[in-house]
Structure formats: structure tokens, C-alpha cells
Amino acid sequence: MRYLTDRKRAVGKGASGSGTEHFWWMTMSSVALAFLVPVFIFTFGSAIGGTQEEVVAHFARPFPAILTGLVTLVGMRHFAKGAQVMLEDYTAGSLRKGLVIFVYSLSYMITAIVLYALGKMVFIDTAAQMLNQ
């Protein structure tokens, strides 16, 4: 028996168990992405079509590297939490849990891959510049 009144147990939680936290997080990240995405479209898009060296040099620069990292970090969390809501609408039980875990894993995986690629690009570009000196 828990020494909590019914009211105390219910306050601020709702059906989600976390109140409006999820909704508020999506609102905040959407505002962040509203600023990031238009710039990212052109930063990313303009790199397509270059040679391997050009692509590496493009993303090794501070602005494209930081922007791509930010869009991936915020965007993939925004995706995971958004896809979770969709899964919660259409699936139930163990299937829902499994799919939410899959979506969370996939977005963390993509984040890690992009951050690794960006880090290595900076490293390759720095090494190339040192060799040229």
C-alpha cells in the first residue's frame, strides 16, 4: 500500500505519465529546427555533386560541420519522439514497445554515424593541410 492520496498520484501526470513534457519538447525542438533547417538545406545540398575531397573539405569547415551536427542531433531526437507518437497511435502492447525501441535506436545510430563522419572529415582535412605545408 502506497501512502499517496489519489490526487497526489494524479497531479501533473495524465495518461502519458509525464504530463505535457513530450509535447513541450516537440514544440521547443520544432522552433530550433525552424531556424536550422532552411540554412541546412543549402549547406548540405550544395555539397552534393562534388568529388570525395571536395565533400570532405566542405563539411570540415566549422559552419557546415557544426550546423550538420546540430541538425542531426536535434532532428533525430525530434524524429524519434515524433515517430513514437505515431506508433502509440496505431500499435499497442509489446509491438509498440519494440517499435519505439527500434525507432529510438535507429535515430541514435544515425546521429552517431553523422558525428563520426564529421569528426573524421575535420581530421582528414587538417591532416591534408599539414601535409601541404
Binding site: 500500500m1 502506497r2 492520496t5 489519489d6 514544440t27 524524429f79 563522419a117 564529421l118 573524421k120 582528414i124
Partner: protein, 132 residues
């Protein structure tokens, strides 16, 4: 003090089709969800392309061929439209959060605005990307 009892909560019924005819409000809403979730495919190919760029030249050539081929172009153009559509309907959600624009007539206009706006922004983006 009542014991906590697990409630078997029902899923919300899927209303479009059997109960409601498709309308601008419902269609523009579901398209927000579809485009948002579809964008993972764009990020997947984008991340694959970036990781390929720091791999061997042979490996990069394979992924870069997919990205720069007409299939890749078509794919990224679809992603571009999706991101702009999701962007505009996202702004619509932020507007709705303030309690404004919820009248059916306004909501329908905003739906058309998102469809036409996304198409326009996609074309403008493609032209700018072609120039730079």
C-alpha cells in the same frame, strides 16, 4: 486510498475513410505525419553518403553514384518537398498552439498554403542550389 488498477486503454479509431470523408484539414494533417516520418529515409541516405566520404574511394563512388544519379536526384527532391511541407505545417502547429487560426475556413486555407508553399519553396531551393 485506492489500489492502482491497470486499465486496458483502447486505441483511438482510425476515422478517415469509414467515418469521415477526406477533407483538407484531415489530409493536410496526416500528410504532416507522413512527410515527417518519411524524412528518416533522407537522413539515412545522407548519413550513408557522409560516412562513405570518409571511407575508401571505391566505396564513396558507389554511394555517390546513388546520391548523384537521377534516382538520387528524384529522391532528394521528394525529401526537399517533404521537409518544406513538414516545415510549413509545423509552423501552422505553432500558430495553432497560440489558439489562432483554428477556424475551419482558416485551417483549410493554411492547408492549401502549405501544399502550394512547399511546392514553391522546393522549386526555389532547386533553382538556388543549381546556381550556387
Amino acid at each position: 486510498m485506492a489500489e492502482t488498477k491497470r486499465v486496458e486503454r483502447p486505441l483511438s479509431p482510425f476515422m478517415i475513410g469509414p467515418y469521415y470523408r477526406p477533407q483538407m484539414t484531415s489530409m493536410s494533417s496526416i500528410l504532416t505525419r507522413i512527410t515527417g516520418n518519411a524524412l528518416i529515409a533522407g537522413f539515412f541516405l545522407g548519413a550513408w553518403w557522409l560516412i562513405a566520404a570518409v571511407s575508401s574511394p571505391g566505396y564513396f563512388a558507389v554511394v555517390d553514384w546513388i546520391v548523384t544519379s537521377w534516382i538520387g536526384w528524384l529522391f532528394f527532391t521528394a525529401m526537399l518537398w517533404s521537409i518544406w511541407y513538414h516545415y510549413l505545417t509545423g509552423l501552422r502547429h505553432l500558430l495553432w498552439d497560440t489558439g489562432k487560426g483554428l477556424e475551419i475556413e482558416t485551417a483549410e486555407k493554411l492547408g492549401w498554403g502549405a501544399l502550394i508553399g512547399a511546392t514553391g519553396l522546393t522549386l526555389v531551393s532547386l533553382i538556388i542550389l543549381w546556381i550556387i
